[in-house]
C-alpha cells in the first residue's frame, strides 16, 4: 500500500497513469475515501492525465489523527503531498468537503492550481450544512446497506457495519472534525474566494440541497461555470460517467480556450508588427 510520509501525517495515495503529462488531483469528501473516484471517474481521466487520489487524514487507509480537519490544515497536507510527489502545479477536483479543500487551495496557493472543479461543495455558512453532512453520513451507510448487502437486502455484513460504525465513532467522538468544520462557517464570504482567478467548473446534482451553494459560488468566482447534472448530493456515486465526462470536457475545453487565447496574443503581436 503506497503510504507517503508527510511532516504531520501519513497519507494513503493511489496514482493512475503516472506518466501522464498533466496531473489532476482528486479530493474526496468527509466520511468517504479515494474509492469514490478509483473505479470509474479516475480511470476515465487517466486516459489523458496523471491522476492522483489520496485518503484524507482519519479516512480510508490514511493515518487516524485527532486534530487538523480545518481547511488550512487540510490544504497544508495537500501542498506537502504535492511537494512530496514533485508536482509543481495540478488540476484540482474536490467532492463535498473535498471541494472546499480544493477551493481553499486556490485561495492559498493559486500558483499550484491549474483548473479547479468543485463537485457538490456545500456552503458552510448554511445552518443546514452540518445537517447535510450528518444526513450524508447516514445516506452513506444506507447506500452501503442497499448495494452491498445480500440479495434480501436486510443487513449489511457484520464486519462492514462495525467498521463503518468505528469510523463514525472515531471521527465524531475522538477528533476535532465537527468543531473544525463549524469554524469554516464564513468561508464562502472570504474575499479570497471572490478573488479566485482560476477557470472553475461547479458540478451539482439537480436534486441536491447543495444547489444554492453552487449558485453562490457561481456568482462570486469570476471564471466559474455551473453545471447541473441528474442526481443529488451523491452524484459521483450515482452518475460517475456523467461527472467524468463533464470533467473531461472541462479540462479539454479549458485547454482549447488557452490555445485560442495564446493564438489571439500571437495574432495581435503579428498584426502590430
Amino acid at each position: 500500500m503506497p503510504v507517503i510520509d508527510l511532516p504531520n501525517v501519513r497519507l494513503h495515495v493511489q496514482e493512475l497513469n503516472p506518466g501522464g503529462e498533466e496531473t489532476i488531483i482528486m479530493v474526496h469528501g468527509m466520511f468517504s475515501n479515494l474509492a469514490v473516484y478509483y473505479f470509474n471517474i479516475a480511470p476515465m481521466l487517466a486516459k489523458h492525465y496523471r491522476v492522483v487520489l489520496f485518503d484524507m487524514k482519519g479516512h480510508g487507509m490514511s493515518e487516524k489523527v485527532q486534530t487538523g480537519y480545518d481547511l488550512t490544515s487540510m490544504t497544508n497536507d495537500l501542498r506537502e503531498l504535492m511537494d512530496a510527489l514533485g508536482i509543481e502545479k495540478a488540476h484540482l477536483a474536490g467532492y463535498s468537503y473535498g471541494g472546499l479543500v480544493a477551493l481553499k487551495m486556490a485561495t492559498r496557493f493559486p500558483e499550484r492550481v491549474d483548473k479547479l472543479a468543485i463537485i457538490e461543495g456545500p456552503d458552510p455558512s448554511e445552518q443546514e450544512t452540518l445537517t447535510i453532512i450528518d444526513t450524508y453520513s447516514r445516506e452513506f451507510l444506507i447506500h452501503y446497506i442497499e448495494n452491498f448487502a445480500d440479495t434480501t437486502r436486510l443487513l449489511a455484513g457484520k464486519r462492514q457495519l462495525e467498521k463503518n460504525h468505528r469510523m463514525y465513532e472515531f471521527l465524531f467522538n475522538e477528533t476535532s472534525i465537527r468543531s473544525d468544520m463549524e469554524g469554516e462557517k464564513e468561508f464562502f464570504n472570504d474575499p479570497a474566494v471572490a478573488a479566485i482567478q482560476h477557470e472553475t467548473l461547479l458540478i451539482y446534482g439537480e436534486e441536491s440541497n447543495c444547489v444554492p451553494s453552487g449558485r453562490t459560488l457561481a456568482s462570486r468566482i469570476p471564471n466559474a461555470t455551473l453545471v447541473l447534472v441528474p442526481g443529488d448530493h451523491n452524484v459521483p456515486v450515482q452518475q460517475p460517467e456523467v461527472v467524468g465526462k463533464e470533467l473531461e470536457k472541462f479540462l479539454e475545453f479549458a485547454d482549447n480556450l488557452n490555445f485560442r487565447f495564446n493564438q489571439s496574443i500571437l495574432d495581435s503581436i503579428n498584426h502590430s508588427n
Binding site: F39, N147, F148, A149
Partner: protein
C-alpha cells in the same frame, strides 16, 4: 519484489492461492478464519469487502501479476451491480486470459 517472473502459465489453483493470500492480507486473518473462501465467493456478499478494501486488493493484484494486467481498467468497465456480483473465479479467469 512482488513482480513475478513467469516461465509457464499459472494454473487456476495457483492463482486462487495467491488471491486468497491477498484477501487475508487486506481483511485480516481473524476474519478469514471464519470464512469459507472458494472461487465462487463474491467480493461484496460473501467476503464483505468494501470499496477501499477492493482498492487495496486491486493494487496487490497489479503489483504481483504485472502491468500487462490492466485490473483497474477491467473493473472500470463494470457498473456497480457487476462489481457487487464479482466472484473470485471471474478474476482468476481474467488473469489466466492475460497470461
Amino acid at each position: 519484489m512482488d513482480q513475478l517472473i513467469q516461465e509457464s502459465k499459472l494454473s487456476k489453483a495457483e492463482i486462487f492461492e495467491t488471491l486468497h493470500q491477498f484477501i487475508t492480507e487486506v481483511i485480516g486473518e481473524e476474519f478469514v478464519e471464519e470464512m469459507d473462501i472458494t472461487p465462487a465467493s463474491s467480493f461484496t456478499k460473501d467476503l464483505e469487502m468494501d470499496s477501499i478494501e477492493i482498492v487495496a486488493f486491486s493494487e496487490k493484484v497489479k503489483n504481483h501479476f504485472g502491468s500487462n494486467i490492466d485490473f483497474t481498467g477491467w473493473l472500470s468497465n463494470m457498473d456497480l451491480d457487476e462489481i457487487i456480483q464479482l466472484k473470485l473465479e471471474n478474476i482468476i479467469n481474467y488473469i489466466q486470459e492475460c497470461q
